[in-house]
């Protein structure tokens, strides 16, 4: 039961973008940490700015 609630919570966070920064950090760790000249990960605030702005570039809502 607890596992199921946890799973739902996870989906809700993913759906709303609440965990976007965690996802980004994970991606950064996996793909960039290994190379020597990798840029440092963005801070939560910096990342959120970029994420929010890029999210609103295209057509996001319709009738």
């Amino acid at each position: 039961m607890l596992k199921r609630i946890k799973h739902l919570w996870h989906i809700l966070r993913r759906l709303t973008g609440d965990d976007a920064y965690d996802v980004y950090l994970k991606h950064h760790m996996e793909f960039h940490e290994s190379s020597l000249d990798a840029p440092a990960a963005l801070s939560r605030k910096e990342f959120f700015k970029l994420w929010q702005d890029s999210k609103w570039k295209g057509i996001k809502r319709c009738c």
Partner: protein
């Protein structure tokens, strides 16, 4: 499960579906339970999804689970992210489901409940959902390219340009008509106006919270925002009862239109994080919550439908909009059955998140079915009202008369019982000063929803429910308005950037102000004309929007059909070709009638000529004579705009036909732009936790 049990269960679903549709179609009694609508919809969707959609996915598109999607190949942690299918479904549904499926069925209910309901069901499973799924699939195979890019790459530059211009114009008309719906809902209603006004500072507060105070804490901020919105609905009631404050929010339609225009401009120029993004969160939460609540209420309560199956207005004399059942029911209900706009989301936005091709059926086809279900619920909410009340709310003063007694007499003469006292009592219950001639669909939908919610969760709060429903509609209409203006601005900057590169810089402020101003002026003009039109404006703008939206759907289906043929799947091309043919017939005949019909309530040119004659003869009352020149010009403009839409549509059709012919006679074509197969590295299920 044992195979025979499965077959038996599906036979049950088929029988229940047939029974429900027969019950809806053959009922000629006093009323019919809404549960039949829900049952019919659920069975039709289940059968279509399990068999038709599965067949398209497996046989026509030949979906390949082992093939890496753009989200996997181009993953960058920001916009290309392989995502759990339920999450993608949520994003996709939230993006495609706007106010359209709520307004269209409400207006189309003037023909009775049956024509609209059947079109919502059939149009969605054979047309809209197929369009969405096919577009999503082709875009996924092309690195998430947009519809316009695919049209250019696969059909040719003409098709591409047509798709681009079509999208831009539909945006202008859409925003104008949605603005008009909000204005009509707020007109002389301090409660509604103050509640809708409060959504702006609330959204800004939420924006500030998630940008600066607690960066990225989207859930926290949204929860606070939703609570504040609910308080704003209650607070609006308090303002409505406060003699000194209520005057601040009690306005004419024209004043409100100017406020909306100013707001639209401000929202397009302001940074997204301050207003647009947070408002979007709030509207998405409120939208999903309310739609779920409505479904639960309908299932618990099983309200009865009072509207007849078919009314006498199928002959074209309907008060809400003029025109016969064919073709006008098919363009009035665009979203909810088939909507070209969805193709813009299904290409470009959603494919960037798709983890695996096998999710395409659920996301492309499934989300459209859910949107269609929203349209069915809107149809239920409109038709649970007594038909007399429904027509009293939705008939413009220009048709039934300004005076309550005249309006009632007129509606009674159509054979729908309603009294002045009944309408006054209803307005009092809903906390409004009057509910006569509140066109646009939002007020009648709100009355319908309030009576459903009121019966399910307590009748004492009818006025609260009514204004909650108005807030629910207004908040995502305004989101569409903001987002649409912004997208229109980007498109315009892109187009003008070809002439003068500097104007294409999205961060150059003079360009931002100039292009935003142009877009706002475009829709602002149509909104202004809609507000000063004595017939309510919706009767003109909504058909125009419907024609534009179906034109865009036809373009999307042309692209789909063209690619299917080029991929050597000519024998399956009917899956998009048939809905395409139907849309072409519907759109062209609707456009023809809107331009050339002799009936002044249908034909733009006839209406313009009629007004000119009356103006010359001096038979118009002075207030009408003052606005007549504007109205005449606008009717002519609408006629040319409609011609333009049809022209664009036929250009794309001929271009697609040219591609098809070249394929059939074996002449060279533009090559398919499908990205080469690359095996997926995402092992079973790790991404979908």
């Amino acid at each position: 499960m044992h195979k025979n049990i499965k077959i038996f269960l599906w036979l049950c679903v088929v029988s229940l579906g047939v029974a429900a549709i027969c019950a809806i179609a053959l009922n000629r009694g006093e009323s019919i339970s809404a549960l039949w609508f829900i049952a019919a919809a659920a069975c039709v969707y289940a059968i279509a999804y399990r068999f038709y959609a599965a067949w398209i996915a497996a046989t026509v598109l030949t979906i390949d689970e082992t093939r890496a999607t753009p989200a996997e190949r181009l993953e960058n942690g920001r916009d290309f992210i392989p995502t759990n299918k339920w999450v993608v479904f949520g994003h996709h549904f939230a993006a495609i489901a706007g106010p359209g499926p709520l307004v269209g069925p409400t207006l189309a209910a003037q023909f009775g409940y049956l024509p609209g309901t059947l079109w919502i069901l059939i149009g969605a499973v054979l047309g809209g959902a197929v369009q969405d799924m096919v577009t999503l699939f082709f875009s996924t195979r092309r690195n998430a390219r947009s519809l316009g890019q695919m049209a250019r790459d696969e059909i040719g530059p003409i098709g591409g340009a047509a798709a681009l211009i079509g999208t831009f114009l539909i945006m202008i008309i859409l925003i104008a008509v949605l603005g008009l719906v909000v204005v009509n809902a707020m007109k002389h209603s301090p409660w509604a106006t103050s509640t809708v006004a409060a959504t702006i500072p609330i959204a800004m507060l939420v924006g500030f919270y998630m940008r600066n105070f607690r960066p990225g804490r989207v859930l926290e901020a949204s929860t606070i925002g939703v609570i504040l919105l609910l308080l704003a609905v209650v607070g609006g009631g308090w303002i409505d009862h406060n003699e000194s404050l209520r005057g601040l929010f009690d306005h004419e339609g024209l004043t409100l239109a100017w406020v909306i225009i100013a707001y639209g401009f401000a929202a397009a120029v302001m940074p997204v994080w301050l207003l647009l993004a947070p408002r979007d969160y709030l509207s998405t939460f409120v939208k999903l919550g309310t739609v779920t609540l409505l479904a639960v209420a309908i299932i618990i309560l099983q309200p009865h439908i009072h509207m007849p199956a078919i009314t006498q207005f199928t002959d074209g004399t309907g008060p809400i909009f003029g025109g016969k059942l064919f073709p006008f029911v098919f363009i009035t209900i665009a979203c909810g059955a088939i909507s070209g706009f969805h193709a813009l989301i299904a290409s470009g936005t959603t494919p960037k998140l798709l983890a695996n091709e096998r999710d395409i059926r659920m996301i492309g086809y499934g989300a459209m079915l859910l949107e269609s279900f929203v349209a069915i619920m809107a149809m239920i909410a409109a038709t649970v009202l007594e038909p007399g009340i429904f027509f009293a709310i939705n008939s413009p003063a220009g048709v039934v008369g300004k005076d309550a007694i005249d309006a009632i007499a007129k509606i009674n003469s159509w054979g729908f019982a309603v009294t002045v006292d009944q309408m006054n009592q209803l307005a009092k219950d809903m906390g409004e000063s009057s509910l006569f001639a509140r066109t646009g669909g939002a007020p009648s939908l709100a009355v319908g929803m309030a009576s459903i919610f009121g019966n399910a969760f307590g009748k004492s709060m009818l006025a609260l429910w009514y204004h909650f429903a108005i807030m629910f509609e207004a908040i995502f209409i305004l989101t569409t308005l903001d987002a649409g203006t912004r997208v229109g601005r980007f498109m315009l900057q892109d187009m003008l950037g070809n002439i003068w590169p500097k104007i294409g810089l999205t961060s150059w402020m003079p360009s931002v102000i100039f292009t935003s101003g142009l877009v706002v002026a475009g829709w602002g003009y149509f909104l202004y004309i809609g507000v000063i039109d004595p017939n309510g404006g919706v009767n003109i703008l909504w058909p125009l929007f419907g024609i534009a939206n179906q034109m865009l759907a036809a373009i999307a289906l042309c692209v789909g059909t063209g690619i299917l043929i080029k991929s050597g799947k000519f024998k399956y091309a009917w899956i998009t070709g048939l809905p395409l043919a139907w849309l072409v017939i519907v759109t062209t005949s609707a456009a023809w009638q809107k331009i050339f019909s002799e009936d002044i309530r249908v034909g733009f040119l006839a209406a313009a000529n009629d007004l000119t004659t009356k103006l010359m003869a001096g038979t118009l009352p002075s207030e009408k004579a003052a606005v007549a020149p504007h109205l005449i010009f606008n009717q002519q403009l609408d006629a040319y705009l409609t011609m333009f839409f049809v022209l664009v549509l036929w250009i794309v059709i001929f271009d697609t036909a040219r591609v098809t012919l070249r394929y059939l006679v074996g002449k060279p074509l533009l090559p398919l732009t499908e990205v080469a197969h690359e095996p997926s590295r995402l092992v079973e299920d790790w991404v979908r936790d």
